[in-house]
Structures are given as structure tokens and as C-alpha cells.
């Protein structure tokens, strides 16, 4: 009997695999585990590095004071980043407020309303927006959008002057408002694309149930589509929020670079990411430490947003799956 590598056990029984072949699965698993661990290690390393580099600034200013006190004078080396943190939150919130409704509307239009042959061209068009480099958005915002919008922004600010922060103020070209608008456009493709995917999973059953009750198309969307895709759309928005919080380049062009605490959204301001992008090159050692501390703050903010988002998504998903069918079918309890 020529016991080859493959059939060492003889002609009968289960054919044996070569030791090399038997190693394939464990090796594959091992490699993947290593990669996953490596990724975690990288994030931890990254986090620690940020802490170490930011430590001088943080211990000098105090952690809470760095994050929550209002005094940022980069040249004068006073580093209390509350105005920047607020700037980040304000511009991101504006981006969500403006961007998410438009993104959802776009997704609904593409998946529920538009003629079928327009569906693919529109999808591609929206997705392509995601491929525009952020610096291009920044330049476009600075040279085109900001000057064009100044008048309109002032008009709105005057009309809404009774609302603190939202209204009032003297419209600058670059401003929180313009930054929020540019961010809204930037998060639109991702929020819209994911919302579209989620909306596509709504069972036809529910949509037909609504239509058969005499729902108009919009009522069908409100009754069957939106409740079912709520969690997914929330998740999509949170991804958009993550992008808006972290966006540096485009915002640094259109926010104005004025690190005072916000008075009115039509005025100039600054954000964490924009400050880092703008100032890192010319910074001295102290300033660098402060910027890295800003980076750390940004990192923590993103983590918090992520956890909050996960919590909400999980909660609304649970609400949807809710209880299993009560009794077994045959129990007679029908």
C-alpha cells in the first residue's frame, strides 16, 4: 500500500488530511485574532500616546478647566478649550439639523417615490458627493457659499433675533452657520446612503397593509416605513455626527477662526478639529501639547457620541423586535 500523504491511514475509513492542510483553519483563525488584537492595541496605544503628549498641558491647566473653562488664546498660550468644544458641538448640531432631514428626504424619494429608471442615476449622484475631497468643500464654502450667504444669514438673524444664539448678531462671511451648512452637505451622502439601505429592508407586507387601508404615499411612509427604519436612520445620523465632529479641513476654511465663546451662529467662531488643522504646523512645544489635548478631547467626545448612539439604536431596535409571538400556535389560545 502506497501510503501517500493524503491517505496515510490506508484505503479505508476517513481520508486523513496532511498536517499542513490541518493547520490551515487554526492558522487562519490565529491570523484574524492577531489582526483584531493588533487593531485594539493600536487604538489603546494611540489613546495612551495622546494622553502622554497632552499631559503637560492638562496638568498645567487642569483637565476640567481645559475642557470647560472659557479662555482660548493660542498665541498667548492660554489653553481653556471650552469655546472650541462648544464650536464643535454647535457646528455638528447644525449639520445634523440641516443635513439629516434632507438626507432622509433624499433616501425616501429615491427608494419610495421616484420613477424606477431614475433610481440608479440618483443613487450614484448622491454617492458621488461622498467622493468630493473635504478641502474642495472648504474652498467652495469659503469662496462661494460664505459671501453669497452673508446677506441671507443677516436677514434670518434679524428675523430670529428674539432667539438667543440662533438669531441676532452681525453676519460674517465665514461663520458657525456656514460651517454647519458645509458639514450638512458633507454628511448628506453617508446618512442618505445608509438610510436608503435601511428603508429598503422595510417588508412589503407593512407597506401594502398601509396602502390597503387607504393611506396616501406619504401616510404609508409615516405609518410603515419610518417607524420600521427609525433605529437604522438614527444610526446613520450618528455616523454623520461622527463625521461632522471630526471634520477639520473644510471647517477650518469656513468657520472664521475666532476662538471666542459663541454669541450668535452667524458670527465667526472656531472648533476643535479646525483649530488643530490650522495651527499645528506653526506651533511651538507648548502649543503642540495644547493641540494634542484638543485632539484627546475630540477623541473622547467621539467615543461618548458613539456610546450614546449605540444605546439609542439598541433601544429602538429592541422596541421593534419586541416580544416573541405569545403562545405556541397549537396551544389553542388563538
Amino acid at each position: 500500500m502506497e501510503a501517500g500523504v493524503i491517505s496515510r491511514g490506508g484505503g479505508s475509513g476517513i481520508p486523513k488530511r496532511s498536517p499542513r492542510a490541518r493547520l490551515a483553519d487554526p492558522a487562519f483563525r490565529w491570523a484574524l485574532t492577531a489582526m483584531a488584537l493588533g487593531l485594539v492595541a493600536l487604538i489603546v496605544y494611540f489613546f495612551i500616546l495622546l494622553i502622554v503628549k497632552a499631559e503637560p498641558t492638562l496638568s498645567h491647566v487642569g483637565v476640567l478647566s481645559f475642557a470647560f473653562s472659557n479662555n482660548w488664546d493660542f498665541g498667548g498660550e492660554i489653553f481653556k478649550a471650552w469655546p472650541l468644544l462648544v464650536g464643535t458641538l454647535v457646528t455638528s448640531a447644525l449639520a445634523l439639523l440641516i443635513g439629516v432631514p434632507i438626507a432622509i428626504a433624499t433616501a425616501l424619494f429615491i427608494s419610495e417615490l421616484c420613477p424606477r429608471r431614475m433610481r440608479i442615476p440618483l443613487t450614484v449622484l448622491v454617492d458621488l458627493t461622498a467622493a468630493v475631497p473635504s478641502v474642495v468643500f472648504g474652498l467652495w464654502g469659503f469662496f462661494f457659499l460664505a459671501p453669497k450667504l452673508q446677506g441671507t444669514a443677516q436677514w434670518i438673524a434679524d428675523r430670529l433675533s428674539f432667539i438667543p444664539i440662533i438669531g441676532g448678531g452681525h453676519a460674517a462671511g465665514p461663520s458657525y452657520f456656514v460651517a454647519g451648512l458645509v458639514l450638512a452637505i458633507m454628511i448628506l451622502p453617508i446618512v442618505s446612503a445608509i438610510s436608503r439601505e435601511v428603508i429598503a429592508t422595510v417588508p412589503l407586507d407593512h407597506k401594502e397593509a398601509a396602502l390597503a387601508l387607504g393611506a396616501t404615499r406619504w401616510e404609508m411612509i409615516r405609518m410603515a416605513v419610518l417607524p420600521y427604519s427609525r433605529a437604522g436612520i438614527a444610526g446613520a445620523s450618528m455616523l454623520g455626527l461622527g463625521r461632522a465632529i471630526g471634520e477639520a479641513i473644510a471647517v477650518s476654511y469656513v468657520i472664521g477662526g475666532n476662538a471666542t465663546l459663541i454669541h450668535h451662529i452667524v458670527e465667526q467662531g472656531d472648533s476643535l478639529a479646525a483649530t488643530i488643522a490650522r495651527s499645528f504646523n506653526e506651533a511651538n512645544a507648548n502649543q503642540r501639547g495644547a493641540l494634542i489635548a484638543c485632539g484627546l478631547l475630540l477623541f473622547v467626545l467621539t467615543l461618548v457620541v458613539n456610546f450614546v448612539a449605540r444605546y439609542f439604536v439598541a433601544r429602538s431596535t429592541r422596541a421593534l423586535r419586541a416580544p416573541p409571538a405569545a403562545e405556541p400556535v397549537a396551544s389553542g389560545a388563538v
Partner: protein, 307 residues
């Protein structure tokens, strides 16, 4: 407002006069007066005293297509008011397609369309200027798989149709509670769910879910109810309950039920129609269809030679 809706009532849903007149001219049935769809539906406050009545449905030379595929081929058929008509036939013969034409759900499928006419009493639901939404409120539908809205409570599921813009005309908002209770009673579900109306509809058993869907359908007070194999996902006991319910419902509604179960047709239907490959082969009193059908294909089918 005298509390008793009449067929000639000119409700807000009344169709433009011209459209009605046009249909009258084109119609081979020369109706004495055009009846606006849903005009018989009760007005605010009077819905309790005056339950709606079923209406007759007449199909004439109905064709339905999925793109190029010809799924319903020149069907003519009368559904008498307040009767149960069963549609039987082998799988794929077009039963679902046919009933989905009666509430204009067929056209929701991309590329699908119909030709011919469907008269609801004396109004062509495919006529010009007919509001699809009004048609669907007059012709309700219960689907094969129970499909309560998953995010809604039992109460909200039943109230769903009442909260639509079209639904508010049928009664004042305060009435919603009453109407939900009445619909759940009508669907024989009230006693089982009255203490847990705020729990999710999808927490009910399959049979209860289907009766919830029936309650949701009758809540908007249609005149015709279409049921597409409403029991095929249910166990025998749940099936029995739904069948009993159908028997009660026919006093108020005209019912068309699709079934592939001939015993079910024999149990619930006054009239039975047999379809084959998109064509109507034979229609008649249920008893006659099952005992002495006039077409040999019907005989083969009901005696179990195929299907």
C-alpha cells in the same frame, strides 16, 4: 345630517360630476345614478347607529398584466352584495392578482396594469378621476400573512386607518376609542385583548394577529372586504374562528375570499368561482360547484385530480 347615510348622499368624497357622467355614458350597465365611491360611508357621529352595508362588485372583461405577462385574461364576474364569494384554483392561476385588482393594489407593483372595468355598485373604480385612496377605503383587504404594524400597539393598529386623512371624515377624533372597540368586537377579539390594548400587536398569536388585521380593516368601514388566503398561516382552531367571523361579517360587508382549501370554500362561501391559468372557468352557488359543476376542468379540480 339625518343620521342615516343614503347611497345618494353627496359626501365630501364625491367625484367631479363630469367624471361620473362620463362613466355613465361609457358604462354598458347604464346605471340610474352615479354613486360616488365611499359616499355611503357614514358621517361624523352617526357611524354607530348605521352600520355600513356591502356593495356589489362587477368585473367586466378584466385583464391584468405584470409587464408583458398576462396574468388575468378577460374575466367577467359578479360579486353579489353581502355574500361571501370564494375564489378557488391551483396555485399561480391568478387568484391573488384578481382580488388585488379590486382594491387597485395590483398597480402598486412596478410595471403592472389592468384593462377592463370593475364596477362598485355603479361606479367604475378604474374610471378617470377616481381617487385610489377612496377606492381602498371602500374595498378593504386582509392579507395571507398577518401583518400588523410592528411598532404599533394593538389599539394603534386598529386605529391606524382612522388616523389617516381619509379616516377622519368617517367620524370625529373622539370617536376613535369607540370605533376601535367596536372593530375589535366585530373581529371577535375584544374579550381577548381588552386588558392589554397598549401592548404591541405583534405580541399576539398568529390567529389573533389575523383577527387584529381584520379589525383594522373593518375599522375604516369598507363596503367590500378582500381576503387573500387569510387562514393559510393559521392552525385549524384559529382558522375556524376566522371562518366563523367571516360568516358574521357578511351581514355588513361583501366578502371575496381567496382560498386553496376547498373545504374552506365549502364552509364559508355562498358562491364559488373556479379559476385556471388566469381565466374564470366557472362560477356558481358553492353547493353546485362542488356537486355538479358544468365544466369538466372544475370537476377535475374539486375532485382532487389536480391542483
Amino acid at each position: 345630517m339625518n343620521g342615516i347615510p343614503r347611497r345618494s348622499d353627496q359626501g365630501e368624497e364625491a367625484l367631479p360630476e363630469t367624471a361620473a357622467a362620463e362613466r355613465q355614458q361609457n358604462s354598458p350597465w347604464t346605471p340610474s345614478s352615479a354613486t360616488p365611491i365611499a359616499a355611503t360611508r357614514s358621517r361624523a357621529g352617526d357611524s354607530r347607529e348605521a352600520p355600513s352595508q356591502g356593495r356589489a362588485v362587477v368585473l367586466a372583461d378584466l385583464n391584468a398584466y405584470y409587464g408583458k405577462a398576462h396574468a388575468i385574461k378577460g374575466v367577467g364576474l359578479d360579486y353579489a352584495a353581502n355574500q361571501v364569494t370564494a375564489m378557488i384554483g391551483p396555485s399561480g392561476c391568478g387568484k391573488s392578482t384578481l382580488v388585488r385588482c379590486i382594491n387597485r393594489m395590483h398597480e402598486e407593483i412596478p410595471g403592472a396594469y389592468t384593462t377592463g372595468s370593475i364596477m362598485l355598485d355603479d361606479q367604475d373604480i378604474y374610471g378617470e378621476n377616481v381617487d385610489v385612496v377612496a377606492v381602498r377605503r371602500a374595498v378593504g383587504m386582509v392579507f395571507q400573512k398577518p401583518n400588523p404594524f410592528p411598532t404599533m400597539s394593538i389599539f394603534d393598529n386598529v386605529a391606524a386607518g382612522l388616523r389617516l386623512t381619509g379616516g377622519r371624515r368617517g367620524g370625529k377624533r373622539e370617536n376613535i376609542k369607540d370605533r376601535v372597540e367596536r372593530s375589535l368586537r366585530g373581529a371577535g377579539l375584544w374579550e381577548e385583548v381588552k386588558d392589554r390594548l397598549s401592548e404591541p400587536g405583534i405580541g399576539l398569536s398568529g390567529g389573533q394577529q389575523q383577527r387584529l388585521c381584520i379589525a383594522r380593516t373593518i375599522a375604516v368601514e369598507p363596503e367590500v372586504i378582500l381576503m387573500d388566503e387569510p387562514c393559510s398561516a393559521l392552525d385549524p382552531i384559529a382558522t375556524l374562528k376566522v371562518e366563523e367571523l367571516i360568516d358574521e361579517l357578511k351581514t355588513r360587508y361583501t366578502i371575496v375570499i381567496v382560498t386553496h382549501n376547498m373545504q374552506q370554500a365549502a364552509r364559508v362561501a355562498d358562491t364559488t368561482a373556479f379559476m385556471l391559468a388566469g381565466e374564470l372557468v366557472e362560477v356558481g352557488p358553492t353547493e353546485r360547484i362542488f356537486t355538479k359543476p358544468s365544466d369538466s376542468r372544475t370537476e377535475d379540480y374539486v375532485s382532487g385530480k389536480f391542483g
